[in-house]
Symmetry: C2
Subunit: 333 residues, 2 copies
């Protein structure tokens, strides 16, 4: 449906063309991540599940796709001044790594409660860390100050067409690897991942369903869908440290128009899913990355007659950056 | 070199033909496991590393390949009486799973110090557990008793041509996935894995080098190579619970003639490698599965001039069955 698609770059921040362009741009740098399956997990869920393992992406998360597309989209003058971002960790590390590949500086504003391993990744990839308070306000103010001082280009973690296009390349690979997919379940936070994945997937197969999975303690997307407008929460409380952001003005239209529904799960379900992914799939996953499996195993999904025909379900394991201590503490609860 | 190969079924318990036949037989049942790479680990080792992730195989280890080949090689009369084996766990679970697929009974003799998760796998796959003492003698006596009572066929964990042929299918996939491999490093225990992998790999590419990796506390293969005959140890002491067996009369000739050398590593190096595989590759690995990386990162390998031309190194991550508690305890040491 490329020719007369209602999914156009006029309406949304990306489309199948910008996503295909992103794929050409980033292909030399990214891993084409494998898809794993497990009969044990199929039996448990009553569906055929296909796990797209973005935890094996460079930097340990899907974020490298968008970051790489943003960095290699800059013209030489822009690039010379470097980039800046604020992030809980995975986007930060991804941007630092992509900047290193292009040989330009990356200034990374990190809230002081970010997981240790994510901060270590930023440092390993040569990013320059600037600490901020936990609030979005403090992060944004600190980033603005860096921009002023250095002339660096801001690369927002999700509310950016280049980022959305980069994340969308997952769908190009996934639908080639598993053409029979009829449903994709995607973690939702700021919405960059789900926007890109949805715009690409529904352009290739308009009948494919996209569902979001969101933690109960940061359920702004579910509330936004219900209200028909962006709802921001006063605070968030979830073990899924990568899913605490709120939708932006570029990601909300995609979620509003093209994402069928938001499945909300609680932290206990997320931890149970992490454990299954570790024990059965043998994959190290962070809480945010386990939420798709948590959703598909929840009664809200299993018993919903609207989704009884979702037979071949793609689940995006978004990342695997986790302090082992945290994993172990979660399991002992 | 298929036509006039010195690697023939007269000389060894398997050859490229029996391995190709095994592949046809088991292909409908096994996972074609992915190969992962990491620039961080390449930098650390100074080589290009390719990780064949048999931890993602059904049952969580390469053992399913051999077990599946053995089970589906049985004629109907043999199959009806079921199979029996003794194993520390991965072969046991694999045999139970393969037997379940053919719908025949599997009697599994397990030493009472086997890891919990491996025993759980046997039970999950419907295997009938018979406990024995830890010694090889006790295991063999118990298995013999079961054979007498049931008429079940013994499927030895490694000293069996059907098992060796099944494990050899790894090389068929690996050399197709990474044709530039010049070296493969393989964990060694009873020698079933390395025999199959070597016979296939060196038939396809006679110049390819195969090196074994063995724990210091169970270094019978290194001692056997040095002595020119099978050496058995009075006792073993290593964290790698899957690498405590000794070579058999069918696996020793392959190790003697075709495996270039045995790299011995200590438990601390194995645990460090497990940690790297967890943190960087995002893969849950058991100690035995991490030994290939431990070997390639050891000074004995890095500083050996004989191996300075080993540039594209395949490492077999043999399994991922591990109690999380054990992993965590190892890391805290």
């Amino acid at each position: 449906m490329d020719a007369e698609s209602p999914i156009s770059a006029e309406k949304y921040a990306a489309d199948i063309s910008s996503i295909r362009e992103a794929h050409v741009r980033i292909k030399p740098f990214i891993h084409k991540t494998p898809v794993l399956t497990s009969e044990s997990l199929n039996t448990l869920s009553g569906r055929e599940l296909f796990f797209k393992c973005e935890c094996f992406q460079k930097g340990g998360a899907f974020k490298f796709r968008g970051a790489c597309n943003a960095i290699f989209s800059l013209d030489n003058d822009q690039a010379a001044k470097g980039v800046v971002t604020h992030s809980s960790g995975n986007h930060a590390a991804a941007l630092a790594l992509a900047a290193k590949l292009r040989g330009i500086p990356a200034h990374i504003v990190i809230p002081n409660n970010a997981p240790k391993c994510k901060v270590e990744n930023v440092i390993r990839y040569g990013g320059q860390v600037i600490w901020s308070d936990v609030t979005i306000q403090s992060r944004e103010d600190t980033a603005a100050k860096v921009m002023q001082e250095t002339g660096a280009v801001l690369v927002h973690p999700f509310n950016d067409g280049r980022i959305i296009s980069g994340q969308g390349t997952i769908s190009l690979e996934f639908l080639e690897q598993v053409p029979q997919l009829d449903t994709v379940i995607v973690p939702i936070s700021g919405g960059g991942l789900i926007s890109g994945v949805t715009l690409a997937a529904k352009s290739i197969n308009p009948l494919l369903r996209v569902l979001a999975a969101e933690p109960k303690g940061a359920n702004d997307a579910a509330q936004s869908k219900a209200a028909g407008r962006i709802v921001k929460l006063r605070e968030t409380n979830t073990v899924a440290d990568g899913l605490r952001a709120f939708l932006g003005d570029l990601t909300w239209p995609v979620v509003r128009d093209l994402v069928e529904d938001v499945i909300v799960v609680d932290d206990e379900e997320i931890i149970d899913a992490m454990k299954l992914i570790y024990e059965i799939l043998k994959v190290a996953v962070e809480p945010s990355g386990a939420i798709g499996l948590a959703a598909v195993l929840s009664d809200r999904f299993k018993k919903n007659p609207a989704w009884k025909d979702c037979n071949n379900i793609g689940i995006i394991i978004s990342g695997g950056n986790l302090d082992l201590e945290v994993l172990w503490d979660s399991f002992r609860r």
